[in-house]
Symmetry: C2
Subunit: 384 residues, 2 copies
């Protein structure tokens, strides 16, 4: 069975105030060509179809067009789940009607959970569509209050699957989670850490022939070749400049035989970091393509009149201009430091911010106010 | 052919800070029972499915459930259009996929316009699904800049239909507009009046066997029995207290023979205006049902401590409390005056407000600022 695996479309994404919708439409056209050429038996979209609960209407239109073409014109079954950025309630609209046309869009886990089974000449393949859910939701479904972490929730789900299905057949897990050992970038939102950690252990999936993951934006395998993130369809931050975006094509012949190929996606405009002196940059040769989305690091020390305005005449899509020489403590911050900072829980991040601004520690009373505000926000965001 | 005609569901509606979603779920259950009992050949929903462009998720869920049941369980074809409250782009999600399952949800007029044709033993019935559109959109589609008003837009559409289809067959117009002579209530939003008037002349529809309209909340016929508003499914303001909500069942035997029946909808809580002295009201007999949504007019003149708190112990769903004796100039305002005021264009309404507050006429410069702000808002609202 030929499976095309993609994830993290983030339709409606805004990067530095620029809507990515046109770039997304461009790359989805390319994606369609790949589907037409490769003729997979099924397309998997492993969550984060949209970038937020209430996406802009252009994003709704783009997803609508894309799914409609896949189903009506290309006639390929589509298996999709919601990720942590999607609104399960809003994406559920029409989901039951879509099923009759081979568009399976799973937004919620229920007690009536069942995989989608598709047959080929070697027998059935069972696709387990597991949308992003909070551990508490799994605890509720299985009436098991001991489930507190994503790890425990996944254990419970897999236990359930292994108990009810014949694991000597081919099973594919489609999920949206953070597998321990995965490489992060700047644009993934942290998953909830109620149970202390957002991570799930890759070894849980040993019984699955293929694990199609969404959430991390870099295409990668974890532990073995068949536990994979397809990665996002586009770069969504400058921390992703060195990624090579792609979709993953899997050929699943039998339970333990599975070939994997990455098919590159080439964006209309790449993300690129360029560094140099103003006069050099103005010559127009600094970027691979002048139209690329650029983070420009200016090395000049003196005053330059309206450098952004002038540089944009040469490179129209500069997203960020950094006066490297003028911001000494910022310029030194390495990606590692950035990552370390990014790993902080919101409360720790706020405490550090408070410390820096007030030159004093965050008092306990304020700390607990901030804590409950963060909790409220999380619940609200989740409930949208 | 048996046609069940409804409109103006306004899912997600908020009246005096109360979400109507539970009441809407209740009445849609009743609607479903009617569909099951009457077994129509087709269900028409003539616009304003939602109350606004971005409805709350509970409303999305309710519409999803309702349409899914109609299609998957009751197996009745559904013909729906968007009204002036709906977002065409957002409701278009999945629309092309739904068509294969006999859910026709028309959100946009295009040059490729075609009716939906359904056959019975007497031949075809052509349903013309005309979503709410601005006159400018019709002007664009037909490349005719002379189209400025809803009247002209409708004329053009009907001209197109009469030219391309055999009008000796049965044709049904499904539209969302304001037919001249219709009775308004407080809860309809004014349609755009770019061409000077929002009205469309009922005589335009002479060639149609039945005209299924949405927009006005009171069930009514205009000029002849077969040009009808089904009315909203619930009362959505106190100006509608005397309405009798219903759905309309039409039996269309041949081109000129059509029987019409109104099937009542009985709400969980009715809207009611009650008037009296505090002590009388507290006896609990003032309303038809204590649970009704009430507008209470208190006749007492003196001070009463927390009348709302006390009255709500008896009548839990008071939406509005009016101290009639204490607000002499408000109390005198009749429904006619209210309607007259409501008929003012936003600019005139603002001018009147300015006059009342500043005791001076709105200067021309400010007038034009307000004018362009109103225009901006309209465009934005439309584009959402």
């Amino acid at each position: 069975m030929k499976i095309l695996h993609t994830a993290d479309w983030h339709l409606g994404k805004i990067v530095n105030n620029i809507y990515m919708t046109e770039d997304q439409a461009y790359i989805l056209e390319q994606f369609m060509s790949i589907v037409k050429k490769e003729q997979p038996d099924v397309v998997i979209i492993a969550g984060d179809l949209y970038d937020r609960s209430i996406p802009p209407k252009q994003a709704v239109e783009l997803l609508n067009q894309t799914l409609t073409k896949l189903i009506n014109e290309i006639n390929v079954p589509v298996l999709a789940i919601t990720g942590n950025h999607d609104s399960p309630d809003r994406l559920d609209f029409g989901a039951k009607l879509f099923r009759r046309q081979n568009l399976y869009l799973e937004t919620k886990l229920t007690k009536e959970y069942e995989p989608i089974t598709i047959h080929d000449q070697w027998g059935p393949v069972h696709f387990h569509l597991i949308p992003y859910v909070e551990p508490a939701e799994v605890a509720y479904i299985f009436e098991d209050d001991s489930i507190k972490s994503h790890q425990q929730a996944t254990e419970k789900l897999i236990e359930h699957i292994e108990k009810h299905y014949d694991m000597s057949e081919r099973h594919v897990w489609v999920g949206h989670s953070f597998i321990a050992g995965g490489m992060e970038s700047e644009s993934e939102e942290r998953l909830s850490m109620v149970g202390g950690t957002p991570y799930v252990d890759a070894s849980l999936f040993d019984q699955f022939s293929y694990v199609a993951l969404g959430h991390l934006h870099q295409a990668q395998q974890i532990l073995r070749e068949t536990v994979r993130y397809s990665g996002s369809i586009l770069k969504y931050s400058f921390s992703e400049v060195n990624h090579h975006k792609s979709v993953t094509l899997i050929d699943l012949e039998n339970k333990d035989e599975c070939s994997v190929e990455k098919i590159p996606l080439v964006p209309r405009r790449d993300f690129e970091i360029v560094e140099g002196y103003f006069s050099e940059l103005m010559e127009g040769e600094a970027a691979n393509h002048r139209e690329n989305y650029l983070h420009v690091r200016l090395l000049d020390e003196g005053t330059i009149l309206d450098p952004m305005g002038k540089l944009r005449k040469v490179y129209p899509n500069i997203l960020h201009l950094e006066r490297a020489a003028l911001s000494p403590h910022r310029q030194q911050e390495s990606l590692e430091e950035l990552k370390a900072r990014q790993k902080l829980e919101p409360l720790d991040l706020f405490s550090a911010f408070y410390q820096e601004i007030k030159q004093d520690e965050l008092p306990d009373k304020r700390k607990s106010m901030i804590e409950s505000a963060i909790e409220d926000l999380r619940l609200k965001e989740r409930g949208k």
